[in-house]
């Protein structure tokens, strides 16, 4: 594919009655890692959810293209089948559905092909090894009674198993201790470096970026992209915070 993987042009969106994003342009090519930073309430999660097709968010203007195809009106399941993924800020608890059977169903349904069990088990084991997850994990009900760190590990496990072309990580590092961030980062690194997957990392801290190669950084302020730069922009924010972008 020669064109960009994700192309967002002049996108405005919000929840019922309130536009939270205004005229966003964003282009991510295959294998690129983009970082989306910004103060609380800037609209970072709104952008992630809108890109993934959360029906609670409405597009009020502009288009979203994925792999050259206009996906603005597509449901989340179709977007996922095309190769999009989002790691949730607050993964939902689904009682009675085990993590393993969830991942199995997701692979089976999104690919439309029967699952090769032996191969699946091997991949699952390998991914869990990277994330230092105990084998008993996958038998537990999805996210039910999981700690914050366990939920995020389970998200990254799904990322590794579903192997998308683009992963949106919505505050994956928030609320995690240093060790947990390190473990989760290892999973993301595997995805980025070994599989060549593209990333849109939404974060307001930078710990998760320590081990990742960053191509572009975008600063989102009050629903608009205030500045775009390279990896150096992350360091700048690390030192000076968002003050420079929020003034005026």
């Amino acid at each position: 594919m020669s064109g960009p993987l994700l192309q967002v042009s002049d996108l405005s969106a919000g929840i019922e009655g309130a536009e939270l994003l205004h005229h966003i342009d964003l282009t991510i090519r295959e294998g690129e890692t983009h970082v989306l930073m910004g103060p609380n309430g800037a609209g970072k999660s709104t952008l992630g959810n809108t890109l993934m097709g959360n029906p609670a968010y409405h597009v009020t203007g502009g288009r979203i293209f994925f792999g050259g195809e206009d996906i603005t009106e597509l449901g989340a399941d179709k977007r996922a089948a095309m190769g999009m993924f989002m790691s949730f800020q607050n993964p939902l608890e689904i009682p009675g559905l085990s993590l393993e059977s969830f991942i199995r169903n997701a692979i089976r349904i999104s690919t439309g092909k029967p699952l090769k069990i032996f191969q699946f088990k091997k991949q699952l084991e390998a991914a869990m090894e990277i994330l230092q997850m105990d084998a008993s994990y996958v038998e537990r009900d999805l996210n039910v009674g999981f700690s914050g760190g366990e939920k995020k590990k389970a998200e990254i496990l799904q990322l590794l198993m579903l192997d998308p072309k683009l992963a949106i990580l919505d505050e994956t590092d928030s609320g995690l201790d240093v060790d947990a961030v390190r473990t989760v980062s290892r999973g993301i690194e595997e995805y980025q470096k070994e599989r060549g997957g593209a990333l849109l990392v939404i974060t307001h801290s930078t710990r998760i970026l320590d081990s990742l190669h960053v191509d572009r950084t975008h600063v989102l302020v009050k629903g608009r992209i205030a500045e775009t730069g390279g990896a150096e922009l992350v360091d700048e924010i690390n030192r000076g915070g968002f003050e420079r972008f929020t003034e005026e």
Binding site: M52, G53, N54, P55, A56, G75, A76, D77, R79, A80, A81, F85, M86, F88, P91, L92, I94, P95, G96, L97, F102, I103, N105, A106, I107, I109, S110, T111, D141, Q158, L162
Partner: protein, 463 residues
């Protein structure tokens, strides 16, 4: 065996002070009842029982609480009964949605006809006979109710038949007493452990089974049985009234597990009565799935009579469009240190109404008793309803009673979460509902659990 005669009758005796309600029923006549009795070659006491029940039936008013049963033509009740004794009907009359369900569940042709109540040929009859042989070697009696009346255990049957659910209990118990037909009798002798679950599934083709069938199970001291009734394919009857009766006697130190999936066609009024009495150190386990039917009244009742007796009820109800399912459980604690646990789930969708109604009674004698009720309801849209009506009557200070109720809607956020992994909306919803039902399906035998999940999927697809 311990008998139950000494139970406090006032607990369920009908109070006969409502002569105002007396109405002349054109419908059910003595002649009809005599004819049924004659066709079945009843012993004399059974004819008497039927006639006494008929009298009660004519006196007792229609229940004035719960979902409306106005759609039942009580003045022409005999037309429902006639369909029972003379069930013809043709395969072509079976509604299309039911035939489709058979198809989707992959049920063979011969069984479909039988489940639909129109067939005479039934392949599984052979399997049934084989099961009977196997358990017979252990001394277990497993037979149809009619032959039980005159067989080797005739006295035992007579001693127990409608003693736990007397015809005076309510109008449809009286109707059942008058016109009952079909059903199973099981007797498990002392200390016999039946390894394989007995399934009435194999007997569904019995004449009249699935309308006024009577199930009587007696598990003698120290014995162990798992009985499975019904199956998850819809049962279709020409007449749309079901008033079955289940009586379960669990003797000292025995254990009985009774599993059912009731899935009636959606025109059915399901007014079923199920009751168990549990003696000292004995254990009763109910697993109940209620799908289908237009209106259901279903509250399996357990009398924890013996000291340290235990009962656990696990149930799920699924109400869709046009359905009003009023289900729950009743526990009556009489013995000391008795305990009960109710785990109930209900799902409603497309305007369906599901009501959880339970009653916990702890008698003064039941010191040291424990009861826990856990009920959860899931509504799949804004037009469906879910109600919880728990009643408690605690007569001793020395009891530990807990109740937890959760009512919620399916979360859009959760549906989006599953969809973001490539699962389409219908399947995402079905997965959430199956998960919600999981603690119940887990209790079911594997093939029934699988069928129940299929059934949930089918119900969800029909949105």
């Amino acid at each position: 065996m311990t008998q139950i005669k000494d139970i406090d009758r006032s607990l369920y005796d009908f109070k006969d002070d409502e002569s105002d309600f007396y109405r002349l029923q054109e419908g059910l006549t003595e002649e009809t009842v005599r004819r049924i009795s004659g066709e079945k070659h009843d012993p004399a006491w059974m004819l008497e029982h039927r006639l006494r029940s008929l009298e009660l039936y004519n006196k007792i008013p229609v229940p004035d609480w719960g979902p409306s049963i106005d759609g039942l033509d009580m003045d022409h009740i005999s037309s429902y009964v006639r369909a029972n004794t003379d069930m013809k009907g043709t395969w072509e009359e079976v509604p299309e949605d039911i035939r489709n369900t058979f198809e989707k569940l992959g049920i063979p042709q011969a069984e479909r006809r039988s489940l639909a109540g129109v067939g005479a040929q039934y392949d599984s009859e052979l399997v049934y006979h084989n099961v009977r042989e196997e358990v017979a070697q252990q001394g277990v009696v497993y037979t149809d109710m009619e032959s039980a009346l005159t067989g080797e255990y005739a006295d035992m049957v007579r001693e127990h038949f409608m003693k736990l659910v007397p015809p005076s209990d309510h109008k449809f118990a009286a109707l059942h007493g008058a016109v009952w037909s079909g059903g199973s009798f099981v007797y498990v002798p002392k200390n016999v452990k039946v390894e394989i679950p007995l399934q009435s599934y194999f007997r569904l083709n019995a004449k009249g089974a699935g309308q006024f069938e009577h199930t009587l199970i007696i598990v003698d001291e120290g014995a162990d049985l798992h009985f499975i009734e019904g199956c998850s394919a819809p049962k279709y009857n020409v007449a749309n009234l079901h008033a079955g009766c289940v009586e379960l006697y669990v003797s000292k130190g025995a254990r009985l597990r009774y599993s059912t999936i009731e899935n009636w066609s959606k025109n059915m009024y399901n007014l079923n009565t199920k009751r168990a009495v549990v003696e000292e150190d004995a254990r009763m386990e109910w697993v109940s799935g209620s799908f289908g039917s237009h209106v259901s009244y279903l509250y399996p009742t357990t009398i924890l009579k013996g000291d340290r007796s235990y009962c656990e009820f696990t149930g799920i109800t699924f109400a869709g469009n046009g359905q009003n399912l009023d289900t729950g459980a009743k526990m009556i604690h009489i013995g000391k240190d008795t305990s009960s646990y109710i785990n109930s789930k209900s799902v409603s969708k497309d305007g369906g109404i599901s009501t959880y109604r339970s009653s916990i009674q702890i008698a003064k004698s039941a010191k040291g008793s424990k009861s826990t009720v856990d009920c959860a309801s899931l509504m799949l849209d804004d037009i469906s309803r879910s109600d919880t009506i728990p009643a408690m009557d605690i007569r001793t200070m020395d009891a530990d009673v807990g109740h937890e109720a959760k009512i919620g809607r399916i979360s859009d956020e959760a549906v989006f979460y599953l969809m973001s992994r490539g699962i389409d909306e219908a399947q995402a919803r079905a997965m959430i509902v199956s998960g919600f039902a999981d603690s119940v399906s887990k209790e079911l035998p594997l093939e029934y659990a699988a069928e129940m999940n299929n059934l949930i999927r089918l119900e969800m697809e029909n949105t």
